[in-house]
Symmetry: C2
Subunit: 393 residues, 2 copies
């Protein structure tokens, strides 16, 4: 598409959509213009001219002059419908909908392949960090061992405020919401679903392995209390919500879990809404990427990077799928964890391989021990609000 002006049809005009509009307006080198924006509510007041807007999706999907569909809406089902129709209609698609993508990766992979059109989604994982592109383009030849990091800006903002400024969980969450880093319903963030969707996408581009979100265990920071925070501080640690996937004996395991992180760890210094990703490979040891993980223009900028890449006919090659030596997914891995609870009946310590520390007080109890990830995933007792878990390094 080089040297021609591409016409964009955008779905959604929330934080990211408006960020994209702003970024596009201030960037001179990109030959792309917005032709139409499809929104749900025609009566909402908008900061730009009303002629841009429509409520009819077919004004974009069936307009032959629109080259690229940019999908930025929150409704997972509607998003999948839009993206798959656009791909079938031969349009290139850019999307930022991590949940929709994570839940439909095999179908979307087939669609972009069968219709021979590019489908790019850099903004869906870690916003401004070009991690998918780097995993695709740069780490295809290396013996990648692990992708590990902080890929949820709002929980990282909350944890930073708790550990650096001694704010309460509630105040920190409210601040994150006011700054636009956290959704009005923060469940997906604080329970670790949002980083899990990103992890499922990264897993495919890192190792070529398709995994369903429900196969991956996530436990967030929603049970974190003052006792846990003291425990971390006494050990000169902070807490970070870590998403990781890692090779082990020819398989790959993955999870999203809160970790106790020591000061020497590069992830310790990733603050506020920033995201940080550590890649470990056989030849280059550790590589580390840091960038803003939330916010309209940071995410809009990632969307625009995809649009710009389309101008140069870029598409994901999915080389690791094609190389056909993907590791299998497993939850069979031992983790050393801190498990905090109130009364012994709340947890099942028999699930542990071993327990190395045990603490009791009238308020709280904890053990430090080793347990299988699959046991944690199956454990009903982790749903009890008196019970919290932290992975130890």
């Amino acid at each position: 598409m080089e040297n021609k002006i591409i016409n964009l049809g955008i779905f959604g005009f929330g934080v990211v959509g408006q960020g994209l509009y702003e970024v596009l307006n201030r960037t001179k080198g990109i030959n792309a213009r917005i032709k139409k924006i499809c929104i749900k509510d025609p009566n909402k007041s908008r900061p730009i001219d009303s002629s841009y807007f429509t409520t009819d999706k077919n004004e974009i999907l069936e307009d032959p002059t629109i080259d690229v569909v940019v999908e930025l809406i929150n409704d997972t089902e509607a998003a999948f419908d839009i993206v798959s129709t656009a791909l079938r209609n031969g349009k290139a698609v850019v999307s930022a909908s991590k949940r929709m993508i994570a839940e439909n990766l095999p179908a979307l992979y087939e669609l972009q392949s069968a219709n021979k059109v590019p489908f790019l989604y850099e903004a869906s994982s870690c916003a401004s960090i070009p991690i998918i592109r780097n995993l695709e383009e740069y780490y295809d030849n290396d013996l990648l061992n692990a992708v590990e990091g902080i890929c949820n800006g709002s929980t990282n903002y909350i944890l930073t405020k708790i550990f650096e400024e001694n704010l309460s969980f509630e105040t920190a969450l409210q601040q994150a919401q006011e700054l636009g880093f956290a959704e009005t319903d923060p469940t997906l963030d604080i329970e670790g679903y949002d980083p899990k969707f990103k992890l499922v996408i990264l897993l495919l581009h890192a190792f070529g392995t398709f995994v369903k979100p429900e196969e991956v265990y996530n436990f967030g920071i929603h049970h974190l209390n003052d006792f846990d925070i003291q425990f971390a501080k006494q050990r000169n640690c902070t807490v970070k919500l870590i998403a990781q996937c890692r090779r082990q004996n020819g398989s790959v395991f993955a999870y999203v879990l809160p970790h106790l992180v020591k000061e020497h760890n590069l992830l310790y210094d990733v603050y506020n809404e920033y995201n940080g990703i550590l890649l470990e490979s056989a030849f280059t040891d550790k590589q580390f990427f840091v960038g803003k993980g939330a916010g309209g223009t940071a995410t809009g900028s990632a969307v625009l990077s995809d649009i710009s890449a389309l101008l140069y006919n870029y598409r994901y090659e999915y080389k690791k799928i094609k190389q056909n030596n993907q590791p299998n997914f497993t939850n069979d891995v031992k983790l050393k964890v801190y498990l905090r609870y109130k009364t012994p009946d709340q947890v099942d310590l028999a699930e542990f391989f071993n327990i190395s520390e045990k603490y009791e007080s009238p308020e709280w109890r904890y053990v430090v021990g080793t347990i299988n990830l699959q046991k944690l995933k199956d454990a009903g007792w982790l749903k009890k609000k008196d019970v919290n878990l932290l992975v130890l390094e």
Copy 2:
């Protein structure tokens, strides 16, 4: 070239060449094999079969079955001759020779363009960090303000040992040499020439601006003494050798200078032979890349990434050159510096705009003040071994 096996002709079999050989051997997904390696000394004992080797460059350059020439030698003139002949002969070229590339960028740009062959050189800047590829592919649309970082592994190793383990400069340098991070003649590293060559390459891919190495001022860590180290420590700082290029009023300035770096700066935590690059842009704020900046397999891995990219017909687009709105290069920028000397006749303080601190003792004197970068570049007095300079944040 997808799905065919590509034949490599390699020039040089030193640390990087052997690193490439090892990386290539252990990577299954790459359809590339070494056909011939051209070396200077046929009598040197080599770890691999002698049938690989030749001393006749034409056995590679004129072999029509060799698709890709990989240039990994130390001799700048010979390297340019090899690379330009290969490009003229229609072969794709991968090179790690930062000095040769930095000194010949306009000619090399013309050659790859005129002969329509790819010329890739990711390993020439920051070894394992995919910074050129990211500047090319990902930051073309963003309003990039600055590229700043540590891009010399051996000086960073030396500075780490000085500040973290209180080693002397000489002991730290010797360790770096023993570990293969520093050359036998370390002048290019410790005087800041090596990071300057990298900076000249990054400047082109960041902003589209061609600059000759001699236009860019570099001052290394060769004058650093115990007094300077104490000065830094008293201010809770470390010293890092920083290469940076930065937009300012429509122009771009660049330099390699030792900086006083505070603990909150992300570059503070880049230790040993690691490199770290901070990108600043209008929309994504800061982005940070960290990875190994020296060592055979880290650099070999970057070379292999370029070879792998060739399999997918990748080449640098040099979009920022083509967009034709490059900033001009300038040395007209004010810097706040610490200048240490022994006697007043050794420096010319009249060159400063202003001086905010002045210190005298029988052993050493220093001033803190503001001075123009062009004045520093022209100042003969910075060559005196009693005089040292540190940029303040």
